[in-house]
């Protein structure tokens, strides 16, 4: 349908990813809509983080990782030879599981990305705007020159989100952004995500199913299954639908078992 096609931000077509020749995730088809929050859930080792990293070619940095299939963004297969992975990551930003601010001041943590991307404009204004969007401005406006390491874990993670927002990407990928944080910080980041989805497409990997329910519009459930004739387990996308559907009336038995806690 053309109507859905224009709203698709990222499309995965038969994506399989392997590490050093060992298949990790196979046969993922998925259409991630623009301007929504999409959550990936599933047990450990099901490949949800691997798929997330495939969306902005972060897997290039992991030795021995290879991908087959197509990841279409903006009408372009991201894995074609002539694509520049640096440009891909400028338009599809990423926030990691562990807060990883640079060993620089709070101000420079945000200004760094803007500078290397050739930002021309009022840097002070950009820093303030990014920190406000990440709900961190009130806590840091008086200590912008202090090291990013001086912040608490939750503040560091919001700083990393502000850093990602500052380069104005179209998509923000978040790999378990709250797993190292306390519930209050988690809540702040979730509130922020509701604000952010007005201007960005967000894809989030989470182990916390309540979080998926609270923040996401769509949910993809990944699962691992043993391959016939071998001990190795390979991840696959089991079901991908609106979040309400996945948690209330999933079509697959595996999804029902997982979301209702009767897993394995």
């Amino acid at each position: 349908m053309p109507a859905t096609a224009t709203n698709t931000c990222l499309a995965l077509e038969n994506v399989s990813i392997s590490y050093s020749g060992q298949l990790a995730v196979s046969g993922v088809f998925m259409e991630i809509p623009r301007g929504k929050v999409t959550a990936f859930i599933g047990p450990s080792g099901c490949g949800k983080s691997t798929v997330l990293r495939a969306l902005n070619r972060m897997n290039d940095l992991i030795e021995g990782c290879s991908l087959s299939g197509r990841v279409i963004f903006d009408g372009q297969d991201l894995y074609e030879r002539q694509v520049d992975p640096v440009e891909v990551r400028r338009r599809i930003g990423m926030v990691f599981q562990k807060p990883n601010p640079f060993p620089k001041s709070i101000y420079d943590n945000i200004a760094f990305g803007a500078r290397i991307n050739g930002f021309r404009g009022d840097m002070d204004e950009l820093v303030e705007r990014s920190l406000r969007k990440a709900a961190l401005w009130d806590e840091t406006k008086d200590k912008l020159k202090e090291s990013g390491y001086a912040l608490s874990g939750g503040q560091q993670q919001r700083l990393c989100i502000a850093r990602a927002i500052a380069i104005e990407p179209e998509v923000i990928l978040m790999d378990e952004p709250c797993s190292a944080l306390d519930p209050i910080s988690t809540l702040k980041i979730e509130e922020m995500m509701h604000e952010l989805k007005k201007s960005y497409t967000i894809v989030i990997v989470t182990h916390n199913m309540q979080q998926a329910v609270r923040v996401s519009d769509l949910t993809g459930f990944f699962n691992v299954s043993a391959q016939p004739g071998s001990d190795r387990k390979v991840g696959a996308l089991v079901e991908f639908a609106e979040t309400g559907m996945i948690f209330n009336s999933p079509k697959q038995q595996a999804t029902l078992d997982y979301v209702s806690g009767r897993f394995g």
Binding site: V86, E87, R89, F96, N100, I116, I167
Partner: protein, 294 residues
């Protein structure tokens, strides 16, 4: 139920065999530790006593006297050591840091990186006199620099060969200690490989690399064997980079065995200055290392 083991009293009984063995072995370990640091303390104390008393402005600022005369100083040797070490650092630091960056950031596990790492370890074990003979054969005897044979430049190159493995290894190790998440963070906001390394990874590893570089320089500054074959010695002030040049270590080697009181005293004074410089370099390295932890 009766316990399978005898139950002793909870108060410490020094007369028990295990406690006496403990005591004995602790004393022996302490004794050997004292023996191990004894040479360091004795060497420094001896050099301080023999050489420290000669320290004055004339010593630092004038030329050594001709044989048979009194007075004079080691000014030319101090300047010479600084020049030769500086040349060595200017060669070894860019090459060594570059090689370390390549090993840690670009070639993590390939056969070429394994070969270079192995080669670096071997080079670190090559006796310094062989570095000297190598540069002698390559540069001095072939007179490649404007027909000059022995020169400050040749000495600097010999010391650079000695410094290289230390600089490569410390850069490689320091970069490997930078958390992978930091690189991902930079890549995740669209930094190229070059910007990630030059603006994020290298600054994060700066103090460890600087520590390694300072230690390598301190080691090279005290080397004698490579300089005998390359920089030779000169009783005059330095005359240029492509002429023989004096250095403190070669001055010690030359003067200590001369039958003149004045020269022997200068050798002691030179030992003192050299040891103090190396101590200061080590303190600088410790201070640089402290920077990273704060």
């Amino acid at each position: 139920m009766t316990p399978s083991y005898p139950r002793g009293s909870l108060t410490l009984q020094p007369s028990l065999a295990r406690n006496r063995w403990n005591q004995l072995l602790t004393v022996i370990a302490g004794l050997f530790t004292a023996l191990a640091v004894l040479p360091l303390i004795v060497v420094i104390a001896y050099v301080l006593i023999k050489g420290g008393s000669l320290l004055n402005l004339q010593l630092l600022s004038s030329l050594p006297p001709p044989p048979g005369l009194d007075g004079g100083g080691i000014g030319n040797a101090i300047v010479g050591t600084l020049i030769v070490t500086l040349i060595a650092a200017l060669i070894a630091v860019p090459v060594g840091v570059g090689a370390g960056v390549y090993l840690a950031e670009f070639a993590a596990a390939g056969w070429f990186a394994r070969f270079v790492r192995f080669g670096t370890n071997v080079l670190a074990g090559v006796p310094s006199i062989i570095c000297g003979v190598f540069v002698y054969g390559l540069i001095v005897s072939t007179r490649v620099f404007f027909g000059q044979s022995y020169s400050a430049m040749a000495g600097g190159i010999a010391l650079a060969v000695l410094m290289l493995p230390t600089v490569i290894k410390t850069t490689d190790e320091a970069l490997k200690l930078v958390p992978q998440e930091l690189r991902w963070g930079a890549m995740g906001i669209g930094a190229s490989h070059f910007i990630t390394i030059s603006r994020v990874t290298l600054p994060a590893a700066f103090s460890s690399i600087a520590t390694g570089v300072v230690l390598a320089i301190a080691r090279a500054a005290g080397e004698t064997a490579p300089l005998i074959f390359t920089a030779l010695f000169s009783p005059f002030w330095p005359e240029g980079l492509f002429n023989p040049i004096a250095s403190m270590s070669v001055l010690i080697y030359n003067f200590a065995i001369m039958p003149y009181e004045a020269q022997i005293a200068l050798a002691w004074a030179s030992s003192f200055v050299l040891v103090v410089m190396i101590l200061l370099a080590n303190l600088l390295a410790r201070w640089l290392g402290r920077l990273s932890s704060t």
